[in-house]
Amino acid sequence: MSENIKQIRVALRNCGFINPESIDEYIAADGYEALGRVLTEKTPEEATKEIIDSGLRGRGGGGFPTGVKWDIARKVESDQKYVVCNADEGDPGAFMDRSILEGDPHSVIEAMAINGYCIGADKGLVYIRAEYPLAIERLKTALDQAREYGLLGEDIFGTGFNFDIEIRYGAGAFVCGEETALINSMEGHRGEPTFKPPFPAQSGYLGKPTNVNNVETFANIPVIFNKGAEWFASIGTEKSTGTKVFALAGKINNVGLIEVPMGTTLREVIFEIGGGIKDGKKFKSVQTGGPSGGCLTEKHLDTPIDFDNLLESGSMMGSGGMIVMDEDDCMVSVARFYLDFTVEESCGKCTPCRVGNKRLYELLDIISKGNGSNNDLDKLRNLGEVIIDTSLCGLGQTSPNPVLSTMDNFWDEYLAHVEDQRCPAGQCKDLIRYEVIEENCVGCTACARNCPVNCISGERKEIHHIDQSLCIKCGACFEKCRFNAISVS
């Protein structure tokens, strides 16, 4: 690998290369060969072992070894089993699953059929959020083509293996990405999780053994058979093999979708692939793992990214959202933003998540308004830890992460809000003041004319004045002043 090339496209191997609406182009790119070979040359047990050997771990967030998951479902005896593709991508800012379904739908179809063969299922279901109309359209086209070619349906490759796939639509609830909630939703029930065990592999959709994998996980499957488990395991680190797709966002130059081998450092991702921080600002933090992840700092930049390292650093892999923050971002506000999301998306089934997250949000809100106390910081930590310790599903078990990790890494900022009623990043509206710097003010009236609440007074060519009791801290005066005569403090 050459020095400056950090990405390898495995899951995204066809995205941006082939026409997603052409099965021929997919076949020309080795498509359906893995399925053909598995069906004709391997027993389900051998094929499952290949996945175990590859070391592939679930890309949806949990990082559970995919082959082991398949093996559990394979060993459960049942007259009917199901393969489910989780395409309920819900992390704000994450869109890798959508990109794969829009750019390479056949890879998911092929993988699901392989999965069906391995565990003994003849039916697959794709649970996809209805907000992804293009992905749904292309998936439908691909399903039709695969059926037309006999790659789905009965007696596939003349082996007697039958498999077909149906699409199920989600209404866009974040918690439905949790597999038990997803299954409840597919069955027509309220989309809320149930405790495990029983795991879906034992009792899933309609009470039958069900294997649920995420889109990106499936997209890796055909490659493993085409290139070999050993090849796949040679990419990445020992315990996290292969690559991971990340959606780079935030204050970074090259916002986009990237795919890097596991073990790549955050520094390489942010500063080399991502092209560094926008407008030459200083890097402050990177949030990984979506709303359930944590905020990592400068000191984590050289940590190789894999499932275990991220967990150890107080964050998580999640589905691969990566949001970069610079010196202008207030970490209390960031934590509050994510909490706002989880409060909105909690299903409300268990007490700690339903009420606890709401209280966590309220505490953050008090702090960001400068009304918090040191006692509130203690409460924040205790409550966060209890929510993690007692919540029913992964949503609640991780929702305090943004709070706890920012408290760990940016304690000074919390203290500044609480003890000095000050927001160091100048983001918390209730804690900032816009003031006229008298020696710079030329009395051009630009600020007064643009103030939406008319709280700036002053005659032309005279020093202006901001009435703090009326100011809504919109920042319009600061932006319009061409003489650097407005200060933010």
């Binding site: 690998m1 995205c15 082939i18 076949i27 359906y32 390479d104």
Partner: protein, 132 residues
């Protein structure tokens, strides 16, 4: 379309498809064609990729360039959408970012017709599975 009845069927089909593509795109033979791929995932379309694709389709034909214009998925360069990959016969493909109608026109006139380089190329920053 005949059904794929066996692995051998699939392999035969693949070889045929690959050689067609190769004949079309790689030979310097007069039959070689220019291939333009427009990234048409949700992100690209939201940035105007549909107009860009239509512009290429209509104008390449109008200007008598023997070309195939197809859509493809997301190339990953969200910051530079719409993105377009252009492959001249027998050459490595290049990817252009921030392609609007004006840029598309420049790409046709300068790069496709005359082989002159045009600004805005996004360098390849990944490896494919075949190279690895």
């Amino acid at each position: 379309m005949a059904k794929v009845k066996s692995l051998a069927d699939l392999k035969k089909m693949k070889e045929k498809l690959q050689s067609d593509i190769s004949l079309r795109e790689n030979s310097k033979h007069p039959e070689g064609m220019v291939r333009v791929k427009v990234a048409m995932a949700t992100c690209g379309i939201a940035s105007g990729a549909k107009d860009v694709m239509e512009f290429f389709t209509v104008n390449l034909q109008k200007r008598n360039v023997d070309a195939i214009v197809t859509q493809t998925g997301c190339m990953g360069y969200c910051y530079a959408e719409p993105t377009v990959e252009v492959k001249l016969p027998g050459q490595e493909p290049v990817v252009y970012g921030f392609v609007d109608i004006k840029k598309a026109d420049e790409i046709i006139e300068k790069y496709i017709k005359q082989g002159e380089p045009v600004d805005g190329i996004i360098p390849v920053n990944y490896e494919t599975i075949d190279k690895k």
